[in-house]
Amino acid sequence: MTAADATRAGDALRVTAKDVAADGVVVLTLAHPGGARLADWTPGAHIDLHLPDGTTRQYSLCGDRFDARTYRVGVLREPAGRGGSAYVHDVLAVGDVVGVGGPRNNFPLVPSERYLFVAGGIGITPLLPMVRQADLLGADWTLVYGGRRRGSMAFLDELESHGDRVHVLPEDRHGRLDLPRWLGEPREGVAVYCCGPGPLLDAVESACAGWPEHALRTERFVAREQGAPVRDRPFDVVLARTGATVSVGPDRTVLDAVRDAGVDVLSSCRQGTCGTCETEVLEGTPDHRDSLLRDDERAAGDCMFLCVSRSCSDRLVLDL
């Protein structure tokens, strides 16, 4: 699929349904106002919603990929958030038109004979199409789904059809997910997928420490905690296509510096989780501060996310 074929940032989709899926969770159904086909996606993909109040938020697609005319996303009200989810819950209405970017997939489903899916709260959304797909492929899979209370957990009706493959474990009745029990001994041939709040991801990461490399795959909506940048002195960013050089001080992002130099780089989350502002690095060593790249991709040092990443070297040459 090419960029030209994809729904692009700024494409407008209409909210065709808004349903309460659980306490604090609404599910939006989106469609093209003219009924056109939407860009294809794969389980684990997310879209950006550009809300009319100027905020942009990423939401995992949790509908049916075989339905080319609608997207479905689940939105948790985040009282401590920056206002995006409150807007969706309180203001956005059926019939409204919102800008949509993507879809992009930083959390793809790899082929495996066996899957263990671990969801925490709204983290169920990217896993929902994954369990359907695992089922379609005839794989052996188990979903462990934790949440605060049963009433706060979305999509329980849809999941019930899968019988005893699905374990719904609200914390008020079962306590925190017993990860050592569900994970068991490290073994080959199992892909572990986890999405949910940071503490759950951290706990699954520690519990999988003895597992084969790449067995665990996670997606973070909240940026990973980062240490201090490698350097606190300014560095130069050279824009290879224009020849311009801009200096980036400790208090500015590369993204803002580059934009001020007149280069229009698309960005979205501004926290290194969505991947929109990925840019090729031609020379220099980036100080990666994103939550996306694998270790080997970090080591290659040939791309970076301008919204958060910085530089280890005095100079970075970017393909801009």
């Binding site: 699929m1 086909r37 794969t42 990929r65 793809p108 489903l109 790899v110 090729e280 791309c303």
Partner: protein
């Protein structure tokens, strides 16, 4: 009921007359309607841009997993294990496609540009030193990809002469079992075995596309069983197609001298030129799909399980979409042409082909002021590709 609604044709799109010059047949097809029943093969043909484009996007209605040739894998066994990319549907298509798309992404190809430019310079220098007349098919269109692409994949030197006959057979095999297939069928097992042998991990050089496919298997992104078949896709789809695309762009310039002068003045037009040549000459002419249900196209219904023959080349010349479609024109924006296909199966190696073309055209344009046809040209007939067998050229 559908038969009464549909225009019917008994023409043979794989016959020698159409393969020699498909344009009149394509024009008839487009004029007849959005869908035409080809009675000789009981397949449903589409030749208009709008409908071919829509069908290519609609993987739900028009599946690839039943084969993208005439043979229907629902009822006939495939002659080789099906491709995990070309001949598969979501969800099985997802992981192999994602892995290969990552390895062949423009960012990943940057490291090849310098080496490929040097090879192109060397090749063109040697050619010009030998004289100002040559056959552009073997000397440029075949020679350049065969120098750079197998190295990039990482296969050994020995046996590379098998690549072109393998590709030629493969693209013939998407059509009916006509003389073109029969003539080469005796070599198919041997060529297939050689190609399969190149896909093993220990045969492939450590830093090529092939090794990177295996590295993706090590990360669990595809399985170890899938890895050799993904390597095979590179070797199947990456050679003949590029050869014929390069022959097409060279033919375009040799017959349009004003555009060659323009390219020399504006070398950045090399990329536009290549895509415009692919629109204009459409090296890959056709692919089939199979209806997953009774699919409605316009007023017609294509019954479940029937084969649909999509004429990419005809769509690329549809006057409903393109102004003056028969003209090769560097002023045109060829974006949206269907020469690389479209949708989830769109050519995953297109950036490789573009980089090859750019390097070769650049090397040539810096050295050669004029290109012209120097003798009788000859088409090479293939059931899927519009190919050149010989393009005698004179340069000055």
């Amino acid at each position: 009921m559908t038969a009464t609604l549909l225009p019917t044709s008994d023409a043979d799109p794989f016959g020698p007359e159409v393969l020699e010059d498909p344009l009149p047949f394509h024009a008839d097809l487009r004029d007849a309607g959005p869908v035409v029943h080809l009675s000789r093969y009981d397949v449903y043909a589409m030749g208009r841009y709008e409908h071919v484009h829509a069908a290519l996007r609609d993987w739900q209605g028009f599946q690839s997993g039943a084969g993208v040739g005439l043979s229907n894998f629902r009822t006939e066994p495939p002659w080789r294990p099906p491709s995990l990319l070309l001949e598969s549907d979501p969800p099985r298509h997802d992981a192999p496609r994602r892995v290969l798309a990552g390895i062949l992404a423009p960012r990943e190809l940057r490291r090849l540009r310098e080496r490929w430019s040097a090879v192109a310079d060397e090749l063109v220098d040697a050619l010009l030193a030998a004289g100002d007349e040559f056959d552009a098919v073997p000397k440029l269109a075949e020679a350049f990809p065969l120098r750079v692409f197998p190295d990039a994949v990482g296969i050994p030197d020995e046996g590379r002469e098998n690549l072109l006959p393998y590709g030629d057979f493969l693209f013939n095999a998407f059509g009916p079992h006509n003389d073109l297939v029969a003539a080469a069928a005796h070599r198919a097992p041997e060529l297939g075995a050689w190609v399969n042998a190149q896909c093993a991990r220990d045969v492939l050089a450590p830093d090529g596309f092939g090794a990177r496919i295996w590295a993706a298997a090590d990360r669990g992104e595809i399985t170890a069983e899938q890895a050799p078949l993904v390597v095979r896709s590179l070797l199947s789809a990456g050679v003949d197609t590029t050869v014929q695309a390069l022959a097409t762009v060279l033919h375009a310039f040799a017959t349009h001298p004003e555009h060659w002068r323009r390219l020399r003045a504006e070398p950045q037009l090399a990329r536009v030129a290549f895509d415009e040549a692919i629109r204009w000459g459409s090296p890959v002419q056709t692919f089939f799909r199979t209806a997953t249900t009774d699919v409605r196209v316009g007023d017609a219904v294509i019954p479940d399980g029937k084969k649909i023959l999509m004429f990419l080349a005809s769509a690329n010349h549809d006057p409903r979409r393109w102004t003056d479609p028969e003209a090769f024109d560097l002023s045109r924006d060829p974006s949206g042409h269907l020469g690389f296909g479209f949708g989830i199966h769109q050519c995953v190696g297109q950036h490789v082909a573009r980089l090859e073309a750019e390097c070769l055209l650049d090397a040539l344009a810096r050295r050669v002021a004029t290109i012209e046809i120097a003798g009788p040209t000859r088409r090479h007939h293939n059931n899927t590709m519009r190919a050149w067998g010989s393009l005698p050229m004179r340069v000055g």
